[in-house]
Amino acid sequence: MTDNSLNEIAAHQHAEPSAPKMTARNVNVFYGAKQAISNVSIDVDMDNVTAFIGPSGCGKSTFLRTLNRMNDTISGARVEGTIELDGENIYAPSMDVVQLRARVGMVFQKPNPFPKSIFENVAYGPRIHGLAANKADMDAIVEKSLRRAGLWDEVKDRLSDSGTALSGGQQQRLCIARAIAVDPEVILMDEPCSALDPIATAKIEELIHELRGRYAIVIVTHNMQQAARVSQRTAFFHLGNLIEYGVTSEIFTNPREVRTKDYITGRYG
């Protein structure tokens, strides 16, 4: 996709674009010799939830993980192109990965709370980054994070219980609370509802609505209805290519590409 077409998309945007929070330009990702992502350029801004959709294996999760360099942990993974956070190249040697991941938080496909207490799960991030000066501070951060994740009322009386004893949906909200406890600027969600039942999914989606605007949110989903419900902008990936990127309502009602249309109408995927 060229810069030209990006400008074209900008004309369709839903919310008036602030300066983009993250910009990716001509990103290629390789696993060994295999190319997983080809030449993807995309902007993510603060005011809109961005959804990545596409069939399985299309590279949407891979691309998401390049945004906070989680791909670094996979041996043989190589990233080309530039990805900037507030105009700063996150793959530059001067970029500290640990700090980057504190600024760009992540929620994973399977709820993965630490096998520690609920309090410790949320307090872990602030503690290792030294964000709380004392116990009272930490209590406040934990409460605020759990409230924002909509979990506080359910767990306030059992903060010392194990995080793994919660239900699946509660665990995922705990993971969201853990991510927002370090006060990130961007939250990446990798199919956060794929392991949850419809009621828990509805809660997470509601939560995404509430968090919008405070954080730049990018969500990967293979559920098109979910993308339509929670996002304002949608990017359609296929076989490692970004096929189409634009305002969600436009993508779903009036896709410009045949492949997008085929996918959202259920022709393949």
């Binding site: 942990t73 700090q99 991941r101 938080g105 399977k110 991510a179 406890a181």
Partner: protein
């Protein structure tokens, strides 16, 4: 679809034919056979274990008791060469050493029990007399009864294993009503000796303790750090493959080879002292480390990657991921490996023979470099002795070794359960 290729109508399966019934019966029979085989196997091993423990306890518990003889000593007439005044001085031991207490004890035994009375009391009986004098010098002006250990022959006769000569002597003593049985506290506080009535296990126990401490202090941290590095940091290449293969091979090397290695490296190259707990511990650490590395790597591998992702995702550094999350979750598995390695090291004899720990050591080691022996070597040495009194001492030493092993494992299992977390 044309009718030629259509499947013929399916005939319903008859589940009640004889062939079917027979198949079911055969299946049940093979289930029963397998169950029976399993039960037999468990039963046989339980029987072996019971036989081992019962014979050990039957022999060994006798080793913890001793037979005492009440020996009347009349110090007024005895040819003892002590000036009571010197007993208050600083060099009491020196005075007592030259006082001829050994002869006095022998004379007293002969006087009390006849011409062969000297052979009825233990060779170490005079040591008890000496202690009595030391505790209360006033007995030098009196005739007193001192309870001294009986000789091996009398001791065995009292426990029902008499040789022909000792039977009569024991009957005589019994008639005089001077024999009694007491707990052999000396066995737990003394070290090796030539007379089985005087031997103790403390020296070997302390030697084992020191050796194990050295082994644990070296093998555990080195093993765990190696496992962590290999699993979490090391790149996958030919060098790490080579290291992995070497470690796996090291775990399978016969233990005597490690003894030779210890002999060549620690004794000949570094000139560390022979027979020392330090060298024993170093040698056993070499042997234990690969076991801990292998168990540790498996435990670390079994920590779910999602936990690593979660920690990295909130901005933990690789070291924080390892020490806050991976290590605590892998610790139970690592401890299991450590238990296995340490239990093997505790029971190991062969490599320690090579570095000189089979010496006769009559005093407990007071430092890591002092000459020492360990429990399995002590058992091996005693089982080689001629005197029959050593049989029960050998069994008693085995009981001490097993209790030590159980204590060590119990502690490790307690720690493991404390650290056990579910995810």
């Amino acid at each position: 679809m044309n009718s030629d290729t259509a499947l013929p109508a399916r005939k319903p399966t008859d589940w009640n034919t004889d062939a079917m019934q027979q198949r079911i019966r055969r299946r049940y029979a093979s289930e029963r056979r397998f169950k029976l085989l399993g039960l037999t196997a468990v039963g046989v091993s339980a029987a072996f274990l019971a036989f081992l423990l019962i014979s050990m306890l039957a022999n060994g518990l006798r080793g913890f008791t001793q037979t005492d003889i009440k020996l009347p000593v009349d110090f007024r007439t005895a040819p003892i060469l002590i000036d009571p005044a010197t007993l208050k001085g600083p060099n009491v031991d020196q005075v007592l050493a030259g006082a001829g207490i050994q002869q006095v004890t022998q004379h007293a035994a002969v006087a009390a029990f006849g011409p062969d009375g000297g052979t009825m009391v233990s060779d170490g009986a005079w040591l008890v007399v000496r202690e009595a004098i030391k505790n209360d010098p006033s007995i030098l002006q009196q005739r007193v009864d001192i309870s001294v250990p009986a000789s091996t022959a009398i001791d065995l006769a009292a426990k029902g294993h008499a040789s022909s000569g000792a039977e009569a002597a024991y009957a005589k003593l019994k008639a005089a009503n001077v024999v009694s049985t007491s707990f052999n506290s000396g066995f737990l506080v003394e070290s090796d000796a030539t007379d089985p009535t005087l031997v103790g296990i403390w020296g070997a126990l302390k030697g084992s303790l020191l050796t194990m401490l050295v082994t644990l202090a070296l093998a555990f941290p080195i093993g765990v750090l190696s496992a962590l590095y290999l699993e979490e940091y090391a790149p996958r290449n030919r060098w790490t493959d080579l290291i992995e293969v070497s470690i796996n091979n090291l775990a399978a090397v016969p233990s005597i080879i490690f003894g030779l290695l210890g002999l060549a490296v620690f004794l000949n190259t570094f000139h560390l002292p022979r027979s020392a707990a330090l060298v024993g511990g170093l040698t056993l650490a070499l042997m234990t480390m690969p076991v801990i590395v292998i168990a540790g790597r498996n435990a670390i591998k079994s920590v779910p990657p999602s936990i690593r992702d979660a920690a990295l995702g909130v901005g933990a550094s690789p070291v924080q991921v390892v020490f806050h999350h991976v290590l605590p979750l892998a610790l139970p598995g690592i401890l299991t490996g450590t238990i296995i390695g340490m239990a093997r090291a505790l029971g190991e004899t062969a490599p320690l023979l090579m570095i000189g720990m089979r010496a006769f050591i009559a005093t407990p080691p007071d430092s890591l470099t002092a000459p020492a022996t360990v429990l399995p070597v002590q058992i091996f040495l005693w089982s080689d002795e001629v005197s029959r009194g050593f049989i029960e001492k050998t069994s008693a030493a085995i009981i001490v070794l097993l209790v030590f092993l159980l204590t060590m494992n119990g502690l490790a299992i307690y720690l493991r359960n404390r650290f056990e977390q579910r995810w």
